[in-house]
Symmetry: C2
Subunit: 419 residues, 2 copies
């Protein structure tokens, strides 16, 4: 499908041959149907040893050992261990991250915590296109304040460009998702954190669309709080546990909002009076999801062996290639990349728009390319640097080109919205 | 081991022959090491089809279907479906229960919700021996109120007998665990609910030690709120999801405290403004734990086929037998049952005390009987009516008698506290 001076399959293969992470591909399982999965932004690939790990957990642990596995398998420590395993991927210290609960709950925990220890102001500032659940948590928290007759306001930037203008001394917490889940636009975290500090506002970042792909540096950029999803680029399994981060400077300031026995300094002593464990651990709640943690552990083992610089470098190469190939091969067919061309402004996935995006995405799935559609007209390709290579991108774009050329999508039924 | 006019193995076998739930035993997997597990109160047995279900989820769904499984497998509806599946076991309507998150988080959600919609008073009343995480949630909530400069007090009954005396018009919420996790003492839920109503207090019950064994009737007794653990008698797997219940009369009163996209009336439309789904569903939060839900689904399928009356009848028979046999065979050896003899005052497990309880429990484990120790001197046997039978009880007590008679426990090392 190449033309003179354009990208070729050989160029893709050459990049793959030079890829320092190439061998990690063997650590993942791929569709037995031969489909190519480019929905890393919805659900990452499965580490190949997950089925065996889970089989062992079910039989040797649950069935044979039963409750004794709490001791022999260190089940209660897993949230801390797994947090340490992935901490370098977001520029955090090993003790500053725990893996637990889901993103929504972790957002609630840290938004309410940030509120409690805020420096000034009663405004929580966010943007209109923040992910729905992030908005809901914020709205729910405001309803709680209202019920308690406590003053608090939401301020919303309708346009991304407004956010810095709206950041003033009235802002207690700046509450953003690092990367837009539709367009893949990325905030400049360092710049935002700096400006937030200058007006004494605390920052809370949702890293669901950036952790595991970008060079996220929470510590280096002075972020106050962060949460993120474990099941997308982190490859932690469907509905897998999320994570949360607290800057060390905020860890000892107040009680966690949801105090529970796993956040107790001596959880296994069954003491009635709560004593925070300290650090991120204080924000653990109830009994951890043991099975989900075991799945997450398979990916954590892989993350331990990589640096976030190497991951981001490969991710840049993959997404640059994706954008160029879509423009080269599918631009004349009505596909227009809407994600930023400049890598520093881009997140984990590449989105393009097409008039028939809904039915096109379904036709792509039928032709062996799994990606995701976002209403009204965008299609997203999520690239996982641990297991995708440039030849995958070539093959994916080939399928897109074929579907658009042959107009296979014209009679396609589609679901208006899919997860 | 029998004596004249005492319980015999034949009597146990006779009861098993008459057991209407006997055939359910085939639906569970038992230790391949031949151990007898009597820790249903810590972790229930594994439904036999769990490994195959999970294997399928990993390969056919995660690996092959990836994000498409959200649609084909109804992953997002599972919290509601599973809630409906177990609702009859706690006397609730099918739409009044959802399976989600963990017990601690669900306690926080409903305690704060109850607070928001309280009728009067600013006191939350509980008892000193409530389970640690229940106490921590309460303490954490009070810390939140304090940080927000909102008035609120904790009132604690040091002795169970005091609770009704301490229940007056100042009490906003009465916050109790239905069954004591150590002694197995049970509150009279109907009586307590009635008295709470008479002073306009709302009730929040933790059913972790009673759901799946006792005849819990939330609706019939007028309970306001309840939560419970999924991994004990419910057999939902290690660290499995918990559940929550709201009386229909309270379901539309206020927003959930933790508003999230899975609690949205149209969650799959990705709308920014939260609109509560209504009912218990409003209290769903983020992406459900898909793998944990699939494990829970295996047990939910079994629960669908039984009535709580049949379960409670068998449980009474099993625990009556356990108490009598321990007294008969081990009483002279220093074992003293501390759980109530009257079934209506007793919960899911039977506890006995012994001077050497710590090392005795470890010696029992070494001799093939898995149960749990609670500091300082009690040993608990958790009985699961779906899979235990009377002959199991006979065999368990035989091991206890042997360990006590031979004093095998004297040189035993033990962990002071075990989960």
């Amino acid at each position: 499908m190449s033309q003179p001076s354009s990208i070729t399959l050989d160029m893709c293969r050459q990049l793959d041959a030079e890829d320092s992470l190439a061998k990690l591909r063997d650590k993942f399982a791929f569709s037995s149907k031969g489909n190519i999965h480019f929905d890393a932004n919805s659900i990452g690939a499965m580490p190949i040893d997950v089925p065996d790990r889970i089989q062992r957990l079910m039989t040797e642990c649950w069935r044979d050992q039963s409750r004794r596995s709490w001791t022999t398998e260190d089940w209660a420590e897993k949230p801390r261990i797994l947090g340490g395993d992935i901490s370098h991927m977001i520029g955090a210290g090993a003790n500053d991250v725990v893996v637990c609960d889901n993103t929504t709950i972790n957002l609630f925990k840290l938004l309410s915590y940030a509120w409690k220890i805020r420096n000034s102001g009663t405004v929580i500032l966010t943007e209109a296109h923040n992910f729905p659940t992030d908005m809901h948590v914020l709205q729910g928290f405001m309803q709680l304040l209202k019920a308690l007759k406590v003053d608090g306001q939401i301020r919303i930037a309708e346009d991304r460009a407004q956010i810095l203008d709206m950041l003033d001394n009235d802002v207690a917490v700046l509450y953003l998702t690092h990367v837009d889940y539709r367009s893949s636009e990325r905030w400049d975290m360092a710049d935002i954190n700096k400006k937030a500090k200058s007006v004494d506002a605390l920052t809370l970042w949702d890293l669901s669309q950036s952790a595991g792909v970008l060079d996220v540096d929470l510590g280096g950029t002075g972020a106050d709080f962060a949460v993120g999803c474990g099941y997308k680029y982190m490859c932690g399994g469907p509905g897998g546990p999320a994570f949360l981060y607290l800057n060390p400077s905020h860890q000892k300031t107040a009680w966690p909002t949801i105090a529970g026995w796993m956040g107790h300094a001596k959880w296994n002593k069954f003491l009635s009076d709560f004593e925070p464990a300290g650090g991120a651990s204080s924000h653990l709640t109830g009994t951890p999801s043991v099975i989900a943690n075991e799945v997450f552990a398979a990916s954590a083992e892989i993350w331990r062996g990589v640096t976030r610089k190497a991951v981001a470098t490969k991710h840049k190469s993959l997404t640059d290639m994706t954008i160029k190939l879509i423009e080269q091969e599918c631009g004349p067919l009505g596909a227009a990349v809407i994600s930023p061309k400049n890598y520093d402004e881009r997140g984990g996935h590449v989105a393009f728009r097409h008039d028939g995006a809904g039915p096109v995405s379904e036709a792509l799935v039928d032709n062996g390319l799994i990606l995701s559609f976002r209403y009204p007209d965008s299609i997203r390709l999520g690239l996982g640097p641990l297991y995708h290579n440039h030849e995958d991108v070539w093959n994916a774009v080939k399928i897109i080109k074929d579907v658009l050329t042959t107009e296979k999508w014209r009679d396609q039924k589609y679901e208006k919205v899919a997860i």
